[in-house]
Symmetry: C2
Subunit: 328 residues, 2 copies
């Protein structure tokens, strides 16, 4: 059996770009074991070089196909590409989409591409924290463009897509009304809008609607520093991908070369700091509350007391317990 | 302008079933203002009579149509029905589905039905807490069956669907592979499986697949106390709704009359206690960290220090600050 490699030892191998070490450190980040943190802390000051692109869209918007196409084009430019898919519907996670799976398999064979699918449930200590740790590992491992793909439904999923340098929201023509209504909630976070499936005749309508919406949103407002771009693409005939690559390049320059990009990076850092601190706090709280919560839950069930006062009691009890040992 | 009514004053009017008071107390629960808690705490010991049904399913599964149909049938039995929709794609929230909207409007005109759509983002202090508070308000306001509808994507959304007496997972034939893959993740939480759109010829396949899956899941295991039921329905021709009503009645009896139901209610109480305590903790933490996080975020951005040590610093700083004032 392979010996257990301490996370701090993995770090050297991650820095030299060793795929197995990268995969292993990401797994540990995802599992949230405290031992992994030391290794992750060690690599952090070497990260920050990669362009991190968040790609999100409702189920059926074709974002996985878009990601695959984009990865091919970035490879053709000689870039190493990391993909972190926080998406239960992603073809990387096993189940789905036959046509895509073939393309994905090609991708998976290329050592210049690293694909990692993350569970959307049960990531200990939070999906956002785990995904951003994975981005660092890939960054330090030499991947120059890192794509975070998330499904555009769910609070955490959307937050993760925002916590990237460049947020791409994918829309598609011909989705049901129910899906369209969900979509409306994520349009506002886009730096770049992509309308996929532009080989279809009803795609023009989607493009026109998006343009109208953006024009409305901007009327009367002061000129924003970055005006969201709209790009139509087709993964069938390749149309529009040059424009998408240009749009990404343009936003990459903003990210690394302007005050606006610096502000964005500060916002991402603030989000990440708070998420990590919150997770730390909740982890300690949950460890400490394990033995204490059951009798309080029984009182809640029998309605002897209300949720707010019992929650107060639980927090107070945990704090007291913790103070006996170490500063909480 | 109407005077501001304190939440504690609203309570009496909620108990007497006044719709406007119910709506107002739910709004305050959703906004998470501390002042609302007193009112919510006051009603809690009167709650616990209603049957709470969580209905979830992927976008396009037809769960909103199912909810509307079910509400009609419950009304025909003389039950008052509360609906809490935690779903951006829900037709109640405004956008969607024309045919349904007409049916929804009918529902909305009926004083025996109360429909409330909750934002899935930005509910201060957590969606789960707000949704469960809303259930209490409706319960105390005299609603006998309360349906929580959530979209079956996203960690919080699925957790909310579980925190009900009876969890119904809606599947539909003919959805795309991408959607099917998402669906797989929520099947396990069902007490009752509903296959919608059973007027379609491909619905049999969906039913057969579900049955096969459940049989596989059970083989070799000890007989579970509740074996998930599978019901096929069609909102077009009304087929299967009698079976669904029977299944709900059956599970309602388990909820209120058996040890198993008692366990389930204890689990819900435990979940709710922990969520409320976590939200309380995070609220205090976020209030206290507001002034402290910015310089740490700047150090994170510039990579002077790593997320874990800075998060530790932030938690420690908040605790120190808080101890100066009151026990945190």
């Amino acid at each position: 059996m392979a010996r257990y490699v301490p996370s701090t030892e993995l770090v050297e191998r991650v820095i030299s770009g060793e795929t197995a070490a990268i995969a292993r450190l990401i797994s540990r980040a995802e599992s949230g074991i405290p031992e992994a943190r030391e290794g992750l802390a060690q690599i952090y000051n070497r990260s920050g070089k990669a362009h991190v692109i968040g790609i999100t869209g409702v189920p059926g918007s074709g974002k996985s196909t878009l990601v695959a196409h984009l990865a091919h084009l970035l490879r053709a430019r000689g870039k190493k590409v990391g993909i972190v898919a926080v998406d239960p519907s992603s073809p990387y996670s096993g189940g789905a989409i036959l046509g895509d799976r073939i393309r994905m398999t090609e991708l998976a064979m290329d050592p210049g591409i690293f694909i990692r699918s993350m569970a959307t449930r049960g990531a200990m200590g939070g999906m956002a924290r785990a995904a951003l740790d994975a981005v660092d590992v890939l960054d330090v491992g030499g991947f120059e463009t890192i794509i975070i793909e998330t499904v555009g439904v769910g609070q955490d999923e959307v937050e993760i897509a925002r916590a990237s340098h460049t947020t791409v929201v994918v829309s598609a023509p011909g989705l049901g009304d129910e899906i369209q209504a969900i979509k409306a909630g994520i349009l506002e976070i886009a730096d770049i809008h992509v309308v996929s499936k532009c080989d279809r005749s009803d795609a023009n309508r989607t493009l026109t609607d998006l343009k109208a919406m953006l024009t409305l949103g901007l009327s009367g407002a002061t000129q924003p520093a970055w005006r969201p771009l709209i790009v139509g693409v087709s993964s069938v005939n390749g149309q529009g991908f040059d424009d998408l690559m240009s749009a990404l390049d343009k936003h990459r320059e903003v990210t690394f070369g302007t005050e606006l990009g610096r502000d964005r990076q500060l916002k991402i850092a603030d989000f990440r700091l708070k998420k990590t601190a919150e997770n730390l706090l909740l982890e300690r709280f949950n460890n400490a509350s394990n033995g204490l919560s059951r009798p309080l839950a029984e009182r809640l069930r029998s309605r002897e007391a209300d949720p707010y006062s019992l929650a107060n009691d639980l927090v107070a009890a945990v704090m007291k317990e913790e103070h006996a040992h170490e500063p909480f």
